[in-house]
Every structure is written in C-alpha cells, then in structure tokens.
Assembly symmetry: C2
Homo-oligomer: 331 residues x 2
DNA sequence: CTGTTAGCGCTTTCAA
DNA sequence: TTGAAAGCGCTAACAG
C-alpha cells in the first residue's frame, strides 16, 4: 500500500501538501503537477480508514430495514445504493427481521461502525426500541412510518388516499359486499390503509362493518384464508392491503374456479407488477419505492453535509394507481 | 466518545492492558475486574476505525451483485447479512447494473474501503473486467457463475440437470412441440439451462431445433414475445429459463384466453413462488438462494479467518423441482 | 503557499 | 503479566 508519505517523497513535497492536494486546496501549480504525477506512477489510493479515523467521517450510511427479504427492500436498497455510490458513500445494510427487540442491537452494530447517517424503515414511533434513535448524534431518516422526533425526517406514502380512491371506485361500480383484507392495526401502515377504506364507505353514506374486515398477518396463508371467508360471505369485490397477502388471496380465487377481476372484483397493493400477468389485468396501487429510496439517500446526505441533523420534516410521496379492468361494474 | 485511555486511567492500568483485555489476553484477575468495571461505568465502546487502521482488518466484506433489484439479490443479501452480522461482520453492498464496464470501478470502490473479503455474483469468467479479481489480495467467492482462478471459490446451482429433468418430463408426457425460452448464450447460466434442455431431447432420441428456441433478453416483454411465437407454432409445452421472462410468457398465455398449465403445458425457473397462485399450480424449479447466500458468507469468512485466500473449489447446490400440475399428459 | 508536527484510538513490540 | 512508546495513514494547526 503506497501512502501519502511516499507520494510526498516522490514528488519532493511535504505530506501536508499532498494531503492538501488530495482535499482540493490550491497549491503551487508546479507542485500540484508533481504530486499528480507521483500519484499516477505510484498508483496511490487513499486510505479511507486513516482518513476516517482522523476526520471522524466514514463516508458510509447505515440502512436498517424491517426485513431484507422483500421486493420493497430490494427496490429501496437498489435506489439508495446507486445514489450513495455516485456520491462516494457506501451503505451498511441491516435488517431486524420484523422483530423490534433487535432494533437496539442493530443500531449499535451500525453506529459502532461509524456511520455518518442512518435510514430506518417501518419502525413504529411508539416502540420502546425506537427511542434509541433519539440520542443518535447523526442524521436519521425514517421510511414508510412517521417518527416525529425533532431530529428525524420521515418519508411516507399516501396509502390512505389511494386506498380510499380504489374502494370508492368499487362502491361506484355498485359493489356493496366489499371485503377488506387488512393488517394488524398496531402498524401505522395498516391503520392508514384501513382508514382509507373506511373513508370511502363513509363518503358514500355507507359503513364498513367488522365482518367485512379481515385482519391478516402478512402471510400468504392469511390472504388465502381471508379470501375464503369473503367468498363464503358472497363478496363481490375484495381489496387486499398487502402485496404478499394478495398472492394468497388470488390463489384462493383461482382455486375456487373463479376468474380474478371478473368473477370477483379485485384490487391490491402491489410491487411485483403481478397485476399485468392476469386477464383481465388487475387494478393495483403501486408505491414509488425506487423514488423513496433515492429521496431517502438524498435527504440523509444533505443532512450529513449541512451538518444539520435536525429538521423533523415529513414528506408524503404519491402512489400510482394502475387502473385496469379488475373492478367490474355491477350496477 | 470514551477511549481506551480513559478506561485505562479509570482502572489504573496502562492502555496496553486494556487493549489486551479487549482482545482476550489473560491478565491479573484484579486488573481484569477493574477494567471490566471501568468499561461498564464509562460505557466504553471500541472504535472500530482505529482498530481497523492498526490491524488492517475492517471486519467487513464487499458484495458485488449484477443487479440489486431482484428477488435473487434480496434473498442472497438477506441470508448473507444475517450470517455476517452474527459473526460481527458488516456487508458493503454494491451492484454493477448488469454492466460489466462498471465492475472495475465497483471493485475499487469496495476495496478502497478496506473490505476483508469479496463476494461477486454472475460475473462471467471471460469478461475482461473479471480479471481485476485476479490481483485482489483478499478472498473472493463467485456466485452462480464459475470463475476458475485459483484464488476464487465458486458456488453454483445444478441448473442443467434440473432443466433436463423437467423437459424430459414434458417429453415423457407426449409433448414434441416444446418451446424453450432461453437467454443469450454468452451467459454461463443461459448455456447451462439450454444445454439441459438439449440433453433431454437427445436422451429421447429427439432433437431440439432452432425454431423451438427463443432467445430472450431477460425482459418480461421478450417472454411475452417468445410465448406468442410458440403459440403460433402450436407448441403444446413451453419451458421458460428465466423468472422475469416467465411472467411475460404467462401474460401472453392468459391474454390468448388460454389457461396456463392446462391449455399450454408450462414450467419455468421461479423465485417468487408465483407457481402456486395459479390453477393448476405450476411446476417450477426453485433455486435455494438463501442457502447459497449463507454458504457464500460462511465460505468467505472461513477464508478470511484462515488467511488462506487460495483454494479454488467449485460447489454445486441442488435446486428443488416443485412438481405440480402444469405439465399435461397428452399421450 | 508550504513544511513540520501533533495527534485521531488503537495494537504491539520491547523491557522491565 | 505489565507499562511505555512507536506508529498505522491521514488531517490540521502552526509557523514560516
């Protein structure tokens, strides 16, 4: 490993000059040229570890997701990774396996490695473990879920509004027996989506009663079970609030010999672009996950660079509703 | 930030002793106890950057994937991440966006950050850019694709064998007009899978002619187009060699008003578990991606710890064939 | 603008 | 076993 010292010697200048050159300070053109040449012929590469030790900056950011194994996470990570790398930052990735208990350990794991900023996803503000974020000396950005500590920015989706619109479309199509496959209401996202559905009913002067709300556990199986219940109740339309769950729901419909989106009106949240491979194509709400990732990366970097870890903004990104043909008009 | 010095002062020992304590050396019980207490009351955390500078080990490994945005990548990353973290290692993630030209830059990006080991995926041995791996002073593991440099271990799947078996089942079912939606033969994986299909034909005394091989470009659209061609040619069965492509193929079948796996026998490689949501359920070959990730992590760590970067083994993991009902018997 | 030098927090000789 | 001290590669005063 060639060091700054050797470059200095080769170029016949002091290490200070080399360091300054490397950091973009002006120096005598002649010296600059000699240093540049030395760097080239010696194939010098700067030692980021030494730099980090001295400057207390690692040029890395931590990313703590609920679960690494999902399309959401890979899309977010892909977008962030690209952005960070262009900016010279690396990304330390970690997942807490949907288990809040692990959050503290994971955050320590990351901060121990000297990350300059942290992005977390799907952490509920009222978890005890979320409180560790309060004392962090680095910028934090929360994804999907709002955390209203003054030090944290939150980036959300407009799930409620979109759910409301889609369910409203079902109602407008004459549907009254509409099942909602929702998720545990302890989760912010689940609350949002169900609230959207309820709003649609209220606006139409109707009420969404409990028997038409099935609470899943995010598994495919629970989507399968929920759909079975609704078919028994002679639902004419079902909205599924979660991607994975929706696969189970679709499976149930098919197994009953029904055609999704025709014999049973259907819509769901989707990341995979699964809606297109059916016929009729399925109406889906798609979250701009890549955008979210990129915006998250941009936001932390700004906070890191401006050294202003505190702001506390909340930004809501608009989902896209892919209106297709799976909500039948039965008026 | 409390340092080793402060701990030493508090415990009334030298920094050397604290360092030795931290690294598991034996010292006078009394001293050890005092140090332990100092660490506790001062809430000392070791500075990994300083440690890394001194010891030339960052306790991190680089992971360079073709593309971060796929189920393959998230599954592999999830498995590796878990394993690494348990072992105290962090993971620097990077993708080269399916563009070999980027490989050199990305590898430098990672090595500049002092990674102790590197895992790469889907890099073809004959790419010029792959040669940079030759000079790396750290252990390297190649995923999915064999790289026979003596310094590199390769972890592969038995795609050829599985493709052969599935296509053989189609032939056994009486199918003769079998379409294979394959991928560019410049890619190792694509060659393997097509070779498997050809082998099945040969074993049956048949021949797989060019008109029954459609070369996709990994896009959904090309699956869509390939399937259209085969439907025109009155294929009775189609095997799709790539996950994403298979979605397009399914879409085409549905749009023709046909039922996948019934009107058109069908099988494909799958990661998403998409085969189950159809009726009939689809026969799919599934790669043990999580296993691969874990084995990869294990392998690099062993190489890092044994300080034996050279071995050059190749291991083949067995895929799982999920036999379902989408290959009809037409004899 | 440049050279010298004191550390950043840690590990690891070397003596004691 | 332990303490003292050198030094990993770099940055940032400080003095010139």
């Amino acid at each position: 490993m060639v060091t700054i010292q050797e470059v200095a010697k080769y170029a016949n200048v002091s290490v200070g000059s080399v360091s300054r050159y490397l950091n973009g300070y002006k120096l005598r053109p002649n010296n600059a040229k000699r240093i540049e040449e030395a760097i080239r012929v010696l194939d010098y590469r700067e030692n980021m570890i030494a730099k980090a030790l001295k400057s207390n900056q690692t040029l890395s950011v931590g990313v703590l997701l609920d679960n690494l194994l999902s399309h959401f996470s890979s899309a977010v990570v892909a977008a962030m990774g690209d952005f960070f790398e262009k900016q010279g930052y690396s990304m330390l990735l970690s997942g807490y396996r949907d288990d809040p208990k692990q959050v503290r350990r994971k955050v320590e794991f990351l901060t121990d490695r000297g990350i300059d900023g942290l992005i977390v996803a799907t952490m509920e503000e009222d978890w005890e473990e979320t409180q560790v974020l309060r004392e962090l000396a680095i910028p934090v950005v929360s994804l999907v879920t709002p955390i209203t500590f003054e030090s944290i920015d939150s980036l959300l989706f407009d799930d409620a509004a979109c759910t409301r619109k889609v369910v409203a479309a079902m109602i407008a199509g004459g549907h009254r027996r509409i099942g909602i496959i929702s998720a545990p209401q302890t989760d912010f996202v689940a609350r949002q989506r169900l609230a959207g559905a309820k709003a649609a009913f209220e606006e139409a002067g109707l009420e969404l009663t409990d028997e038409w709300v099935y609470v899943n556990d995010y598994s495919r199986e629970s989507g399968y079970a929920g759909m079975r219940q609704f078919i028994k109740q002679h639902a004419t339309a079902v909205f599924v609030c979660n991607q994975n769950t929706s696969l189970g729901a679709i499976q149930q419909i098919q197994e009953q010999g029904l055609i999704v989106g025709q014999d049973m009106s259907f819509a769901a949240f989707d990341y995979l672009g699964i809606g297109e491979i059916f016929y009729p194509k399925l109406t889906m709400v798609r979250q701009p996950v890549g955008e979210l990732g990129q915006l998250a990366a941009k936001t932390v970097l700004e906070k890191i660079r401006n050294k202003q870890p505190y702001s506390g903004k909340t930004i809501e990104l608009a989902n896209e509703i892919l209106w297709r043909d799976s909500i039948q008009d039965i008026t």
